[in-house]
């Protein structure tokens, strides 16, 4: 299926939840509403013409304009097509629906995005920090993050 067809199908099914698309990019992407991420993911995974059963990657990103984003790279082992989904959310209240019940691999990826960007995934079974220590202050990959001078009373050397 071409990205255009995927976009048309999603638009017909979800209407307002499909916000924007750039289909002539190097890797075409479709922007979706963060509070509908799980429904759209389930639809893309289970419907016969799409069957996006393999999530290659899930990344968090800070756009530095007050928005955080989640980027999903999807692939279908059956039809061998790819699509990129993205969901943007505000920095003050960063909430995105979790897709970890759709793709098992999203569990750890979402924990990582939570750890690094503070994005809260609604419906995630076990949203804990994964790479940083539990008591680490702040979210390191946000663009406005400042390395703290002290961590638990120890001086951070740089």
């Amino acid at each position: 299926m071409t990205p255009q067809e995927i976009y048309d199908n999603l638009k017909a099914k979800f209407g307002d939840a499909i916000l924007e698309a750039k289909l002539d990019a190097l890797q075409p992407w479709i922007r979706i509403a963060p509070e509908r991420a799980k429904d759209i993911a389930l639809f893309l995974r289970d419907e016969q013409p799409f069957q996006f059963d393999y999530m290659m990657c899930l990344s968090g990103i800070d756009y530095n304009d007050g928005n955080l984003g989640v980027v999903y790279h999807l692939f279908s082992m059956v039809h061998k097509h790819k699509i990129v989904l993205r969901a943007n959310t505000s920095k003050e209240n960063p909430r995105v629906q979790s897709v970890s019940s759709v793709w098992g691999t999203a569990n750890w990826h979402e924990r990582e995005a939570f750890d690094m960007f503070g994005i809260i995934f609604d419906g995630h079974p076990d949203l804990r920090r994964i790479l940083c220590p539990d008591d680490y202050p702040g979210y390191p990959l946000r663009k406005d993050f400042k390395v703290p001078e002290f961590y638990n009373g120890m001086k951070v050397p740089y």
Binding site: L26, W103, H109, I130, L141
Partner: protein, 395 residues
């Protein structure tokens, strides 16, 4: 006086249940034990919180992050795209060449660079040599986990020859910084092609030796067959890749199915697990896929060495790397599976965001799924068969 104790004979081994001789079912207590972070069989600093019922594993909770070195943060702070390569080297320190290549490929795709054919051939040769070296470690240490010491020494002996080849090419034995964006740092030194050919002829019989001593060893099979079975659908749902996915019987290899470099020019076969010793997707299948992949790698190397063209290896290296605003996700087949780099450029000289999708991180996340209900000793076998490198899990 001392009467002989009557032991219950008909206990069931379902976790949590224990049936006495009178037919009463008791629920036994669960115990939480800690494995790692400094444990010989966790292959690095991995901590497993294991919930045990007797000797049966009820649940496993992996705790990672002990080796987190902020690769992604560092990459954002570099002043140049080339400077990220030494950091990429240190992600999967057993397969640095593959990491470099994946990163270089992502940036090249952003810049739309086509590298000269000689570079493509050199990259294939290096990546496949590295794959053999990495699989040798996986196999050798897996042998140690299962109590076989000899294959470990043999594997390291053979790996040493590969490291010699790398040292001859770029001076480093482990962390090479060899594959650059647009080219490689040095051309092949004189005598490399002959030495690499010698290695291929030397190495082929060694695989057979390894099979005789370890792969088809009765004890080894007993320890690994039917243990940690990963079904196909779970493997795909958890986005497992590499030998982990192929061991479950999925015929999938990015070198063939999403080709990059010049892999489409060579004759070779994708190896998958067939359940020869037990169930498809058990530890033995995953192990055996690695052994058979080494043979295929030798095949690829021989073809690449025979067909390597002449040319300048640095002609396509850009003087200044400043990709247009844009983003790309590129995936390659590293020894552990799908290694992807998601690179976002904002038009400046340093990357705006890099996410490394490391195969070991993703493969490890399936561990709780496949180890529930196994014995504690089998957990060691399962962790070993996933073949994790903690440097890459934590990045």
């Amino acid at each position: 006086m001392n009467e002989p104790k009557v032991l219950p004979t008909d206990y069931v081994t379902k976790p949590g249940e224990f049936k006495t001789s009178t037919g009463k079912t008791l629920r036994t207590d669960e115990m939480i034990i800690n494995m790692g972070p400094q444990h010989p069989s966790t292959h690095g600093v991995l901590r497993l919180e294991v919930v045990l019922d007797g000797e049966i594993v009820v649940d496993v909770i992996p705790h990672i992050g002990y080796l987190h070195r902020c690769f992604e943060k560092h990459a954002e702070h570099m002043t140049n795209y080339q400077q990220v390569i030494p950091y990429a080297d240190r992600m999967d320190y057993l397969a640095s060449m593959n990491n470099d290549w994946a990163y270089a490929l992502a940036v090249e795709r952003l810049l739309n660079i086509v590298v000269p054919p000689r570079v493509e051939y050199i990259r294939v040769i290096m990546a496949e040599l590295q794959r053999i070296a990495s699989h040798l470690i996986a196999i050798g240490t897996y042998g140690i986990d299962m109590g076989a010491f000899t294959p470990f020494l043999w594997c390291f002996r053979d790996r040493e020859r590969i490291l010699d080849l790398f040292e001859m090419t770029c001076g480093a034995r482990l962390l090479y910084n060899y594959i650059w964006v647009g080219g490689v740092s040095h051309d092949l030194p004189p005598g490399f092609v002959e030495k690499a050919k010698d290695f291929c002829t030397y190495f082929r019989p060694k695989i057979k030796e390894l099979n005789d001593v370890l792969s088809f060893n009765e004890i080894f099979i007993k320890r690994t067959a039917n243990v940690g079975v990963l079904p196909k659908d779970v493997a795909i749902n958890y986005a497992c890749s590499g030998p982990m996915l192929r061991g479950s019987g999925v015929n999938w290899d990015l070198r063939r199915d999403d080709p990059y470099g010049v892999y489409d020019k060579f004759e070779w076969e994708v190896q998958i697990g067939k359940g020869e010793m037990g169930t498809v997707g058990d530890c033995w299948d995953r192990y055996m896929v690695r052994v058979r992949e080494m043979e295929q790698s030798v095949k690829i190397i021989e073809q690449a060495l025979a067909g390597i063209p002449e040319g300048n290896v640095q002609s396509a290296i850009p003087k200044r790397i400043r990709p247009d605003r844009g983003e790309v996700y590129v995936r390659t087949e590293s020894p552990r599976g799908e290694l992807g780099f998601y690179v976002v450029s904002d038009g400046t000289a340093s990357p705006y965001r890099i996410k490394a999708r490391s195969p070991a991180f993703v493969n490890l996340s399936v561990l709780p799924e496949i180890s529930r209900g196994c014995m504690l000793a089998d957990l060691v076998a399962i962790v070993g068969s996933v073949d994790i490198v903690l440097g890459e899990v934590d990045r």
